[in-house]
Structures are given as structure tokens and as C-alpha cells.
């Protein structure tokens, strides 16, 4: 009897310790990723990285100014496509949707969010690159924009749903139209949550590489206008990392650090904003 009891106690201790170890490994992985990028990337970061164009093959030095601007331009187009569609659809689902239509839209949005990013790339290639006969900022932005839609829809809908129905009823009772009610009452009340969702959507696509490979393609120079191939940080990291040149590897680390910091900061800011809202609601 006593040995059985001891066996159970030992099993208990061993298994609980193991779960702790699992958590430690997962958190350790996060810290290791950050550590490696800071260690390898920080040394390669310098002013040139932010201000100069990539150097020709074989020449050391140069920077990724064009890729930084390129990522900005791509994200601008993506936001112009993804955020309005996502936001308005979220409004539809929360404020207007009838049963069958809402079910359909939700189902399709879930489906879209599960599509692998490389398949979104093929889609953008077929929709934009083939008709325009050229890789372009527009095509890359379109691919990223499509990826933003599901995140924006879900975030908007969820935040709007937290607004209590009596606010809407009060507004309508005062004679406001439904459009006015949504614009002046519902959206301001859910503003932080919506902003959080938009920022998360942006952070999610900022680091995407696969959908850009055959839409935005890449460019070693500045990309004028919106209809030419354009460089972006993630694609640059990929191309430089698989190249055989030591100096390019160095720059890939630097670009990785910049991208990671950008993505994580946006993420953390979005979450803090959201937590602030939760605290506000408690008061």
C-alpha cells in the first residue's frame, strides 16, 4: 500500500515538473530567437543599412533603404485594400447581418484565414500579375491585403459586439438613424478594440514573404510608382540568407532584427492598447 502511495506521489512530482519544463522550453525558444537576432543583427546594423541601396554582388557594404520603403509601400496598398473591406464587413456582421448571409460571410472569412499564404500568392499572381504582365507593388499589396481581411473582420466584429445593445437603442430612440448610430455611438465605443485588430492585421502581414515572391518579386533599386517590381524586407532576408555571400548573410541578420522589432513592437502596442481597454471597462 505504502509503495503504491509513494509511486503515485513520485509520478505526480515527475509529471508536474515535466509540464514546467515544457513551458520553459517554449518560453526559452522565444528568448533564444530574440537573443540570436540581437546578437547577430545588432553588430551589422549601421546608418548605411537604412540609407543606402544594396551593393552589387561581391562588393561589401550597401544597405536596404529600398526594401524598407518597399515594405512601407506594400503595407500602404495592403491596408487600403484589406482594412476598409475587413472593417465594413465586421460592421455588417455585428450590426446588420441576417442569419443565412452572416453564416455565409463568417464561413467564407474563416476559410480565407486558413488559406496558406503561398496560395494567396498564386491567387494574386493570377489576378494582378498576369493581366498587368508585370510584377508590381499593386500585386504584392493586393496579396497582403487579402490576407489582412479575415483578421480585420473578426477583430471588428468582436469589438462591436462588446458594445451593449442599450447604447444603440438609446441612440435610435433619440431619433438618430442607424447609420448615425453606428458612426457616432457604436464605433467610438469600440474604437480601441478595432484599432487593436487593425494593428494585429498589419503586424501579421508585415513579415509575410511567401505571397510576395511572385507578386512584388524584388528589386535591387528604387521602384518608381506602383507598377514595377519592388523590394521588401522579408523577401530581401530570404534572398540574402540563401545566397553564398558572407556579407549578405550579415545584412540578412540585420534586416531580420529590424523586421522582428517592427513586428513585435506593433504586436505589443496593439495588445497593450487592448489591455488598456479591458482596464477601462472594469472601472
Amino acid at each position: 500500500m505504502i509503495t503504491r502511495h509513494r509511486f503515485r506521489k513520485i509520478t505526480n512530482a515527475v509529471m508536474l515538473t515535466l509540464t514546467g519544463l515544457c513551458a520553459l522550453v517554449a518560453v526559452g525558444a522565444m528568448l533564444a530567437i530574440l537573443g540570436f537576432l540581437v546578437w547577430k543583427g545588432a553588430g551589422s546594423l549601421n546608418w548605411d543599412f537604412f540609407t543606402k541601396l544594396p551593393a552589387p554582388v561581391g562588393e561589401p557594404g550597401g544597405g536596404m533603404a529600398n526594401a524598407i520603403v518597399g515594405t512601407g509601400k506594400l503595407l500602404l496598398i495592403a491596408s487600403l485594400i484589406g482594412l476598409p473591406i475587413g472593417f465594413l464587413s465586421g460592421v455588417y456582421l455585428s450590426e446588420f447581418g441576417g442569419r443565412p448571409m452572416s453564416f455565409l460571410i463568417r464561413y467564407v472569412t474563416d476559410l480565407l484565414s486558413g488559406v496558406p499564404s503561398i496560395v494567396i500568392g498564386i491567387f494574386a499572381y493570377a489576378m494582378v500579375v498576369v493581366p498587368m504582365k508585370s510584377f508590381s507593388t499593386l500585386a504584392g499589396g493586393f496579396a497582403l491585403g487579402v490576407m489582412m481581411i479575415p483578421i480585420a473582420v473578426r477583430g471588428t466584429e468582436e469589438s462591436l459586439r462588446t458594445v451593449p445593445p442599450n447604447l444603440r437603442e438609446a441612440s435610435v430612440a433619440l431619433g438618430a438613424s442607424r447609420t448615425t448610430t453606428i458612426l457616432r455611438v457604436v464605433i467610438p465605443a469600440a474604437f480601441r478594440g478595432i484599432l487593436t485588430a487593425m494593428m494585429l492585421a498589419l503586424a501579421r502581414v508585415a513579415g509575410e514573404t511567401a505571397p510576395l515572391l511572385f507578386t512584388a518579386f524584388g528589386n535591387n533599386d528604387w521602384s518608381p510608382g506602383w507598377t514595377h517590381p519592388i523590394a521588401s524586407l522579408p523577401v530581401m532576408i530570404y534572398n540574402y540568407a540563401i545566397s553564398p555571400f558572407r556579407d549578405w548573410h550579415r545584412q540578412a541578420w540585420a534586416a531580420g532584427l529590424v523586421l522582428l522589432v517592427l513586428v513585435l513592437l506593433t504586436n505589443i502596442a496593439a495588445r497593450l492598447l487592448f489591455m488598456g481597454r479591458a482596464a477601462e471597462a472594469e472601472r
Binding site: 513551458a23 518560453v27 473591406i85 503561398i118 515572391l213
Partner: protein, 335 residues
């Protein structure tokens, strides 16, 4: 609801009365916002656009792969050779690579993720738990190409010098761990995927575990179970469906993951038993060859691979959502 022409409208064109133009514009806008239908129509248009985009996506994948489907038929899925030059195109090497790397990833990520989720939900103090969960959620936000970067320069050398030789020495009698060691290969791909999908398993499992009613825990403890027995025997089974859901979600992620795996898998479309051997996955071949594909059949075959990947992930995601929904309903119901 036809917008009545505003009296000031004809003056709008003259430069002499810009304030009139703005006032009339503002009035018109105000009138529009005063209607019920404006919000409805705008938001409905956006919602229908999502439908249109998704339909276009499926339609493009289907029509653009028509050439390949007509030429190779169902045999495409079991064809073992991939030689674009002679237009002998079979998808099996890529399906094999995708499945093997995903299985390796799950074999590592499921125990690890479940263990961590149990620790976070059952043992860690709530405050520490939410901080750790926050850190782990950030892990899910790290871009895939950065995992690839770390994979190439940190993990692959480590595998080549330490892990692979050790595996060969101890488990070398299995065909899985034989043959030359390159560092890049199926094992490297699976390992990178494992780290990438762990955060998904942890965050979903943690949530379903936290949703298990207290009675379930307390009942088991009251019967004299140890902490571990209560967790493993009473709490985890209760959340089982949700945990399966998290695993399917992770699997769908792993199947569609592109950059990290492209960078470490070796990109050689052959089927080999050894996990040390380089392989290829569906997503990886798309990333590698799509831009260079020249003949219409070649492009069409690549798009058909995209279609296969699309179908696989859609089915898995659907299953995952159903399972998670089933548990959250049960957990939320009063016990």
C-alpha cells in the same frame, strides 16, 4: 430615396462661391448619414466583396490548373517523378515531404505544447501564466522568414554536427536514420515546423483547459487524486475535443507553412526513407520554382499543387473549428 438636387448645386461650378459648394456638400453628406440604408449598403458591399474574392480564389486555382488536370488526371497525385524538362510531373514527392515534415512537427509539438498548456492553465499562478502566455503568443507573431534565417544559420549546423550524428549512432539501425548527413533535410524541416506550431497548440489548449469547470478538478481532488491525476484523469479528458482542435489547427498551419521550410528542407523532389535526406514540400516547391516555370503545363501543374494544398488546409481548418466549438460549448454550459 433619390437624392433631390440641392438648390445650390448649379452654382457649384463657378469659382465665385466656394463656401456654397462646401455647405451643399456637407448638407448632402449629413442627409446621407441621416439615412438607415447607407451603413447597410456600404457594409453589405464589403461583405459581398469578401465572397467575391474567395470565389475568385477558388475559381482561379481551378481554371488555372485545368491544363495539368486534363493532362495528368488523378495520376498527378501519385506520380513519383518531377522533371519539368520532360513534363513528367507527379506530386507524390512533395506530398510525401509535406506529410513527413508535418508528422515530425506534431510528434514534437503536441507533447511539448500540451505539457506547457497544462503548466500554464493548472499550475502557474494566474499572473505568471498570463505573462508567459503573452510571451508565447509573441512567438506566434515572429515572421516565418525569421524562423528560416535561424534555421539556416543556427539549427542546421547544430543538427549536422551534433544531433544527426548522435541519432545515427543510437538509432542508426532504423532506415529513418541512415545515409549521409547534410544538416538540411526532412528532419530539419520538421523541427522548424515544430517550433512554429507550438504556440498555436499552447494558446488554444490553455484556453480550453481554463474553460473546464472547477467542479471537475475539485471532484477528483476530493476523491484523493494527486494533482497530476486530477489534471490528467479529470481535466484533460474534459477538454479533449478542444485539444484535438488545437492539433488540427497546428497541422493545417504546418502544411501551409512556406518560407522556413523552403530554407531548410534541401529542395530535392525525391522520396527517400532517411530523415537526413533532403526533400521538398508542396509549399517549398511553389516558392522555389513558380517564378522560373516557363511552359504552360509546368505552371499549371504548380498551380494544381496549390489547389491540393488549399483543399488539405481547408478540410483540416474546418475540422479544427468544429472541435474547438464543440468543447467551448460544453465547457461553457453549467455543470
Amino acid at each position: 430615396m433619390a437624392t433631390a438636387a440641392h438648390p445650390a448645386a448649379p452654382q457649384v461650378r463657378s469659382h465665385a462661391h466656394p463656401p456654397g459648394f462646401f455647405r451643399s456638400f456637407r448638407n448632402r453628406l449629413r442627409k446621407l448619414i441621416g439615412t438607415d440604408w447607407l451603413g447597410y449598403v456600404l457594409s453589405l458591399v464589403a461583405a459581398v466583396l469578401i465572397l467575391a474574392i474567395t470565389t475568385a480564389l477558388v475559381w482561379q486555382l481551378w481554371t488555372q490548373s485545368a491544363l495539368s488536370r486534363a493532362k495528368f488526371g488523378w495520376g498527378f497525385l501519385v506520380g513519383r517523378t518531377w522533371s519539368p524538362l520532360f513534363e513528367h510531373l507527379g506530386a507524390l514527392p512533395f506530398i510525401y515531404g509535406t506529410v513527413v515534415t508535418s508528422v515530425i512537427a506534431l510528434l514534437i509539438a503536441v507533447p511539448l505544447g500540451l505539457g506547457a498548456a497544462i503548466f500554464l492553465a493548472e499550475l502557474a499562478p494566474p499572473r505568471a501564466s498570463s505573462w508567459l502566455a503573452f510571451l508565447i503568443d509573441l512567438l506566434a507573431a515572429v515572421p516565418s522568414v525569421i524562423y528560416g534565417l535561424l534555421g539556416i544559420f543556427v539549427m542546421v549546423p547544430f543538427l549536422r554536427q551534433v544531433v544527426d550524428p548522435a541519432l545515427k549512432r543510437t538509432l542508426g539501425f532504423l532506415p529513418l536514420f541512415q545515409g549521409p548527413i547534410y544538416g538540411v533535410g526532412l528532419l530539419a524541416g520538421g523541427l522548424v515546423l515544430a517550433i512554429m506550431v507550438v504556440p498555436f497548440i499552447i494558446s488554444v489548449s490553455r484556453e480550453v483547459l481554463l474553460a473546464v469547470p472547477r467542479d471537475q478538478r475539485e471532484g477528483a481532488l476530493a476523491l484523493g487524486a494527486t494533482r497530476w491525476e486530477a489534471t490528467w484523469g479529470a481535466v484533460v479528458p474534459f477538454a479533449r475535443t478542444g485539444i484535438y482542435g488545437s492539433i488540427f489547427l497546428a497541422l493545417a498551419r504546418a502544411l501551409g507553412e512556406t518560407m522556413a521550410i523552403t530554407m531548410v528542407i534541401g529542395n530535392d523532389p525525391k522520396i527517400r526513407a532517411s530523415l537526413f535526406a533532403p526533400g521538398a514540400s508542396i509549399a517549398a516547391v511553389l516558392a522555389n520554382e513558380f517564378v522560373e516555370a516557363t511552359t504552360p503545363t509546368y505552371i499549371s501543374a504548380l498551380i494544381e499543387l496549390g489547389l491540393v494544398l488549399f483543399c488539405l488546409t481547408i478540410v483540416l481548418n474546418g475540422l479544427a473549428r468544429l472541435l474547438i466549438l464543440a468543447t467551448s460549448r460544453r465547457g461553457g454550459a453549467p455543470a
